[in-house]
């Protein structure tokens, strides 16, 4: 049976096993861990990171990186909040579109500089990370967007569930993040033009030979990542309500961690959205569970987070290697 499986699928199975191991470990350490409450805590927390991680994955697949996503998130959360304070009657769907549109504009600046300016993406986005944040500082003028100035529907959105099964909620914010992941995942695996992201990432020269306009593909990747950072910004605004200039800070690194743990090759050309989803959930589960460990002091938490992420990646690598071996043996 294992013979029929694609190496990518094996990877996902290994990643799922790592997540299972982590959950089992914490359930022996924390009282009442396997509860609907814990599920809701982790799912809503991961929902803020997931869209950003999906956007990051697309950029990484093209052999680039986007370090400005946290700053884009902050700018979008602030500006959309501002718009809602001015026009509380805005249609919710329009608000989400606006958030993604603003993010896409910011992303296109990155895209132009990387794709046609030929500046390495790590330099460009390190620059725009500071640039977008500075823009926010200037634009915000030290005013805070507060939850009580926002329309009721937005403040209540984090508690709203699409459906609830025995206490397990599918909250609206979680559904939004999952929808983004699903749409991008389906597009990347089913749509022919979307395969160009992989082509450009795995071998830019070959892609050029094959007549792919790689500059346009890279540009598009940054626009999509900006738009998804914008969606993350919208969820951030809904969840926290109180937006200052520090909003979204550090999310670019959370996203990179989720993407790498999720099995997207940092060398470009490979990775799946299901992997990114599991990676995001895995990192977030470790993070949120560590704060609930009774015997762990605050100062060891970050160190242990790092160790557990490395352990998860190791388990994933070893497991997918041995599954591959099993597959080869099965094939003889």
């Amino acid at each position: 049976m294992i013979r029929a499986l694609h190496p990518q699928t094996l990877r996902l199975i290994a990643l799922g096993l790592a997540l299972l191991a982590v959950v089992l470990f914490f359930s022996t350490q924390i009282d009442n861990y396997l509860s609907p409450r814990m599920f809701n805590r982790i799912s809503t927390s991961a929902a803020v990171v997931l869209p950003v991680a999906v956007g990051q994955a697309i950029v990484v697949i093209t052999r680039n990186i986007d370090l400005s996503m946290g700053s884009i998130m902050g700018v979008v959360a602030y500006m959309v909040g501002e718009a809602l304070v001015l026009w509380p009657g805005l249609n919710p769907a329009l608000v989400i579109l606006m958030a993604m549109g603003l993010g896409a504009i910011a992303g296109s600046i990155n895209g132009i500089l990387v794709a046609w300016g030929r500046v390495p993406s790590i330099i460009v986005t390190l620059g725009t990370l500071a640039l977008f944040r500075t823009f926010l500082v200037e634009h915000g003028n030290a005013r805070t967007i507060t939850a009580d100035a926002l329309p009721r529907w937005l403040v209540d959105l984090p508690q709203m569930s699409l459906l609830s099964l025995g206490g397990l909620d599918l909250r609206v914010t979680v559904a939004l993040a999952l929808a983004a992941c699903l749409i991008v995942g389906l597009a990347l695996s089913r749509l022919r033009p979307a395969r160009k992201f992989y082509a450009v990432g795995s071998n830019p020269d070959a892609a050029l030979m094959a007549g792919i306009n790689s500059a346009r593909v890279v540009f598009l990747a940054f626009v999509i990542s900006g738009a998804l950072a914008g969606l993350g910004g919208f969820i951030f605004l809904a969840k926290f309500g109180n937006i200052t200039v520090v909003a979204g800070m550090g999310f670019e690194l959370k996203a990179v961690a989720a993407v790498v743990v999720g099995g997207v090759s940092i060398m470009g050309g490979s990775g799946t959205m299901l992997g990114v989803l599991i990676g995001t959930v895995l990192v977030d589960t470790i993070d949120n569970s560590l704060t609930r460990l009774p015997w762990l002091s605050e100062f060891w938490r970050d160190a242990l987070l790092g160790i557990l992420i490395m352990a998860a990646v190791t388990v994933d690598t070893l497991a997918s290697r041995s599954l591959n071996r099993l597959k080869r043996r099965g094939g003889e």
């Binding site: 409450r37 993070d287 949120n288 704060t291 100062f299």
Partner: protein, 350 residues
């Protein structure tokens, strides 16, 4: 010989008496307006309300004193706070600014830069958050007595728990020197007064002044300690995030949030009962007093020594004293702070 010694002693005693007399009689030192003071107000980072308010106060004082120099409000962006502060302090030194007013976010790492500034003639006055070792700093303009913040924090927990129960602290970062000092002061208060014997501090966690981290940490505390009654957050970011988390998860009846917060950000949570009580001081006044003291230091009107008394415009008289929390360091104590609840929060939020 003997006579000489006695007369010498008497002379000494007389001189001492004279000194004491002058110290008692001393009028507070007045600032001479219209001098050139180039000053830099350096907050932890730019773009949030409390620091902006402090700048408003400093600008007000500068206008009042008619300084012919420039008062610049510059600071790092939030993602570059500690490193940015050190860089900007060094730049201010090479620009030969007369005085830098610093709300320190870089712990003792900034001390070498502050010492270099002092050696080159740029005075460093801290406000809001001091340099822990006091090295390189002339004095610290303290918003309130750090010991009394400890008492206020303990009292708010006492009120909200009804005198007995478990609580936890959600702080900013593990190396924020002001928050750490307040938490220590609160622990001392809890340990030394019988009134607080039934309050139990379960844990101290850090949200690093990030909304999502503080939000998740607050929920983590609730899950970890089922009998938790109060989350005490002595940081304006933490208190809002914790309040929102309790509201989102319908926990406000069970767990109350308190700490230090801005009325404008807290008003809805105070009125709906999630955070019935919190405290803060005026950042406008803090900026005003800091500028007055810095102006007088830069113009040589004061030397920054213990016992010097200054007159700070509309705020009245203040004395430089030894800082009880930091050996060898000096402070000017502003105080007091206001405790906000549903009766006064709306007026303050406007």
């Amino acid at each position: 010989m003997k006579m000489k010694m006695i007369s010498g002693l008497m002379l000494g005693a007389g001189a001492l008496a004279g000194l004491m007399g002058s110290a008692v009689r001393a009028e507070p030192i007045q600032a001479t307006p219209g001098q050139e003071v180039n000053a830099v107000l350096l907050p932890k980072f730019l773009g949030i309300l409390p620091f902006d308010q402090a700048n408003r106060g400093a600008q007000e004082a500068a206008a009042e004193l008619g300084s012919t120099g420039k008062l610049q409000y510059i600071g790092p962006t939030p993602e570059n706070s500690a490193a940015g502060q050190i860089e900007m302090l060094t730049t201010a030194t090479t620009q030969k600014q007369h005085v830098v007013m610093l709300s320190n976010n870089a712990g003792d790492q900034i001390a070498p830069a502050a010492e270099a500034a002092a050696a080159a003639g740029t005075k460093v006055v801290t406000w809001d958050s001091p340099i822990p070792s006091g090295k390189g700093e002339s004095f610290f303009v303290a918003q309130v007595d750090f010991g009394s913040i400890g008492v206020v924090m303990a009292d708010m927990v006492y009120d909200l728990t009804g005198g007995a129960g478990e609580f936890a602290v959600l702080s900013a970062s593990p190396d924020a020197s002001n928050q750490n000092a307040w938490i220590e002061a609160m622990k001392t208060t809890l340990a030394t007064h019988a009134k607080y014997k039934d309050l139990k501090l379960d844990d101290v966690v850090y949200g690093n002044d990030q909304s999502e981290e503080s939000y998740n940490k607050a929920l983590g505390l609730v899950d970890k300690y089922p009998n938790l009654k109060v989350i005490m957050a002595p940081t304006t970011v933490g208190i809002v995030a914790a309040s929102k988390a309790m509201q989102d998860e319908n926990l406000c009846d069970k767990v109350k949030v308190s700490g230090l917060g801005l009325p404008a950000e807290m008003v809805s949570y105070t009125l709906n009962g999630c955070a019935p009580e919190f405290a803060l001081w005026s950042f406008v006044d803090l900026g005003y007093l800091t500028y007055y003291a810095s102006y007088m230091l830069a113009t040589g009107a004061i030397k920054g020594e213990v016992g010097e008394q200054i007159h700070a415009g509309r705020m009245g008289d203040y004395t430089i004293e030894a800082d009880p929390g930091r050996e060898g360091a000096r402070r000017i104590l502003m105080g007091p702070f206001t405790v906000y609840n549903k009766d006064n929060v709306e007026a303050a939020a406007k």
